[in-house]
């Protein structure tokens, strides 16, 4: 599991790329990724192109991010999900809380 | 004496080592020397017996043991002679063993004499 972050050129969006298994072992790294000094960021993109697996603790981490980013007013999109990841998000109906592409 | 061999270069007694030993043993020094002398006479006897039995292994073991106590007491030449005999015994070469044992016996006599001189002082 590896996490990479970058901010878009306009300083507006924080992109977090997750590689490998998105599970409990990712917990601290994911949190550090969005908590650390991204002043001015108003949007978040979670790129799961290289993520192989997502479990309920990952769903919990997404909820924590949403809470951190303002709850209902948070703007978070989850992108490039493979079929299995998409299915997990769909069963949990997370598209009711996140923009999923 | 034909040229230098390791045995001939070594001293009969290492005086520094002996001084050290005296310091360590204190009042037990004399007892130690006596013990060494007595045990060594027995060892030489064991060597001759092993040769008579043509038992190369016993020969090597006894030589090894004698070597060790000689080194500890500070008699390097005696130790070197025992090492040579030990190697011969391990190699199974019993042919020159009688001469080697005589050599050890002779060296031992010198060492004993020097030790007695030391203790008389």
């Amino acid at each position: 599991m590896a996490i990479e972050t970058r901010v878009t050129d306009d300083g507006d969006t924080l992109v977090i790329c997750i590689e490998g298994r998105f599970d409990f072992s990712t917990h601290q790294a994911f949190r550090d990724a969005y908590e650390q000094g991204n002043a001015g960021v108003t949007r978040y993109r979670i790129d799961l192109a290289d993520a192989t697996y997502l479990d309920s603790s990952a769903l919990g981490m997404l909820l924590l991010l949403r809470d951190y980013a303002g709850g209902d007013s948070a703007r978070i999109s989850i992108e490039n999900c493979n079929r299995d990841v998409r299915r997990i998000l769909s069963i949990s109906n997370f598209e009711q809380l996140f923009a999923i592409q | 004496m034909t040229g230098s061999t390791p045995e001939s270069d070594a001293d009969h007694l290492d005086n520094d080592a002996l001084a050290e030993l005296q310091d360590v043993m204190e009042d037990e020094f004399e007892l130690l020397i006596r013990t060494f002398v007595t045990d060594s006479r027995e060892r030489i006897h064991t060597l001759r017996q092993a040769l008579a039995d043509a038992d190369a292994d016993a020969l090597a073991k006894a030589a090894h043991s004698f070597k060790g106590s000689s080194i500890n007491i500070g008699a390097p030449k005696l130790g070197a002679l025992c090492l040579a005999l030990e190697r011969a015994g391990k190699a199974g070469e019993l042919s020159g063993a009688a001469d080697r044992i005589d050599g050890i016996d002779a060296e031992f006599a010198i060492v004993v004499a020097e030790l007695e001189t030391l203790m008389a002082r």
């Binding site: 309920s56 603790s57 981490m61 909820l63 949990s92 009711q96 | 080194i71 500890n72 130790g79």
Partner: protein
């Protein structure tokens, strides 16, 4: 020397060498034990348990290597350094000493400075080893304490987690064994008006954090279901509770079903669990899909507990499962998944519950993973087949209560559409201890009277729609629609209770602001043997009221019904 002395065993056959070593060690402040050969050395080792052993490689009776081996065996877990005494000069020979199990060697002539340094080095190593052993033991003890605490927590949890009427004959379930503390819960209880409500929950995580949310949720489920609240209301309460008590990021995937055996209907809600299934009669299996977010995420104002209605017939099976079923993994790393479930259910041989359980267990590479799942199945029976009563599962309350009281309660306008008064009214009645064993009957009476008043009296819904199996769905849809424009109508209840010599008497009157009906015509169409012929306002409802009560009467234009219910001391 500030360090404590060591107990050192010397095994050396040369007396002079042994004396030298002994003297050196004593002068360094240590305690010395001597042996002149291997056998004596091993015996001395066993008797005196030295801290360090110095031994000659070549000794009579047993050589150093063999003695070393035996001493190691005797030492067991203790770290006892074995140092070979040797006049070996060859590097290969020295290395062989270490290979044979020695920790170090001391060459002749013995040098006290070197001996002192080596002993101290080994002393440090021993201390490190002792610290590690102590810490390991401490960790082990702490861990054992945690395990013991968790076992107690699990016992509490188990009393809560799989409870209610799960032992009814038409209920089958497989839950994880004692050894797996996975936080799945399965609750089931009869409803006061007949029927059954079931909740299957899967809290995130494992162990105590997962299980701890189950306690309050169980209280809510059983408390509310026992009072006659509907599934949507119970879900709403559970969701709100979990939102409040669970940390952000933790939630409970769950599914609830309400089974109405009389109406042949299942109402279902699924938030985050895999598809449930309704199977039977050669029909295509109907999935119960997850349409909602799991419990504990959405605040009350956004939570939707709306349940979808599905038709069922006697002989059908309703299946619910947690994702443990889909997560079963075989030797090659393939998952059982939705495909595995579909395949197991498509096979027509044998009852679906057993088929699916066998397929998942058979698929799994190891028993442990196939045990970490919960699977639930209900055989749908007709109403007569479901014989459980609420009194069987609801424990008696310790409270006493009032015997002589009266109360009026009226619902008007939009509140008729939004609010279900039955749990409150039932609660009032059950304040009377003598009525508690009859809670099912009381609820039935209140419910029949209220539904007649609301659905027939005010909304004008014809009850014969309900008799037609497919009309049920239509009936409830129309009920919802008409409720939105209910206008200025009202329903009023008047309850009164008094103690009697034999026990007590409860009177319930229910009045609606509707147009009423032709009482004589309806009552006349009920023949004595209880069979009914085709009236507009007919039904089991009236028969039921007649059967359960001491007296039943209609007043005004038929839009006021009064019943008298007597109970006796037991």
């Amino acid at each position: 020397m500030s360090l404590p002395p060591l107990r050192i065993l010397i095994a050396e056959d040369s007396t002079s060498d042994r004396s030298i070593l002994r003297r050196m060690l004593i002068r360094l402040g240590h305690e010395v034990i001597e042996a002149a050969d291997g056998v004596a050395a091993v015996a001395a080792f066993q008797e005196t348990t030295p801290d360090i052993v110095l031994l000659d490689a070549l000794m009579p009776r047993m050589d150093g290597m063999e003695a070393a081996r035996r001493m190691r065996a005797l030492a067991g877990e203790r770290l006892v350094p074995l140092i070979f005494l040797t006049s070996l000069t060859d590097a290969a020979d020295l290395a062989r000493c270490l290979d044979a199990g020695g920790d170090d060697f001391l060459t002749k002539p013995y040098n006290r400075v070197i001996i002192d340094a080596k002993l101290n080095a080994f002393r440090r190593m021993q201390r490190m080893h002792d610290t590690l052993s102590e810490q390991r033991d401490l960790i082990h003890a702490r861990n054992q304490q945690l395990v013991d605490e968790q076992a107690v927590a699990k016992q509490v949890f188990d009393n809560v987690a799989h409870s209610g009427c799960l032992d009814a004959p038409n209920i089958h379930y497989h839950a994880s064994p004692q050894s797996i503390f996975n936080g799945d819960v399965l609750f089931a209880t009869p409803r006061p008006d007949g029927g059954l409500v079931v909740f299957l929950g899967d809290f995130t995580g494992h162990g105590l954090p997962a299980a701890i949310g189950a306690m309050p949720v169980a209280e809510i489920f059983y408390g509310m279901a026992g009072k006659g609240f509907g599934g949507a209301e119970i879900l709403r309460e559970m969701n709100q509770k979990l939102c409040r008590i669970l940390p952000t990021g933790r939630f409970c995937c769950g599914a609830m079903i309400e089974v109405d055996f009389k109406a042949g209907q299942v109402r279902a809600w699924n938030g985050g669990l895999p598809d449930g299934w309704v199977l039977g009669g050669g029909r295509t299996p109907q999935p119960i899909r997850s349409r909602f977010l799991p419990l504990g995420i959405l605040p009350a104002d956004r939570f939707d507990g709306e349940m979808e209605a599905l038709r069922v017939r006697p002989g059908d099976q309703v299946l619910l499962m947690t994702d443990g079923v889909l997560d079963c993994v075989d030797d090659a790393g393939n998952v059982f998944g939705e495909a595995g479930v579909r395949e197991a259910l498509a096979d027509k041989e044998g009852p679906p519950f057993e088929r699916l359980l066998a397929a998942a267990s058979g698929f799994s590479a190891d028993a442990a993973s196939s045990d970490d799942l919960t699977l639930f199945a209900l055989d749908v029976t007709d109403d007569a087949g479901w014989t459980r009563g609420l009194a069987d599962t609801v424990g008696p309350s310790a409270l006493t209560g009032p015997l002589d009281w009266r109360c009026e309660y009226e619902l008007q306008g939009q509140s008729l559409a939004d609010f279900n008064p039955l749990p409150l009214l039932l609660h009032l009645c059950l304040e009377v201890p003598g009525l508690r064993p009859s809670s099912g009957e009381i609820y039935t009476l209140l419910s029949e009277m209220y539904n007649n008043a609301l659905e027939h009296g005010i909304l004008g819904l014809p009850s014969h729609w309900k008799r037609n199996p497919d009309g049920f769905g239509h009936y409830y849809a129309e009920r919802q629609r008409r409720l939105q424009s209910v206008g200025n109508h009202r329903v009023r209840f008047a309850l009164q209770h008094e103690g009697t010599a034999q026990g007590g008497r409860l009177r319930i009157a229910c009045e609606d602001s509707g147009e009423g009906f032709d009482v004589a015509a309806v009552l006349g169409s009920l023949s004595d043997d209880g069979r009914v012929s085709e009236p507009a306002y007919a039904g089991r409802g009236l028969l039921l009221l007649k059967r359960l009560t001491t007296d039943l009467s209609f007043h005004q234009n038929g839009n006021r019904v009064e019943i008298v219910y007597d109970w006796k001391h037991t």
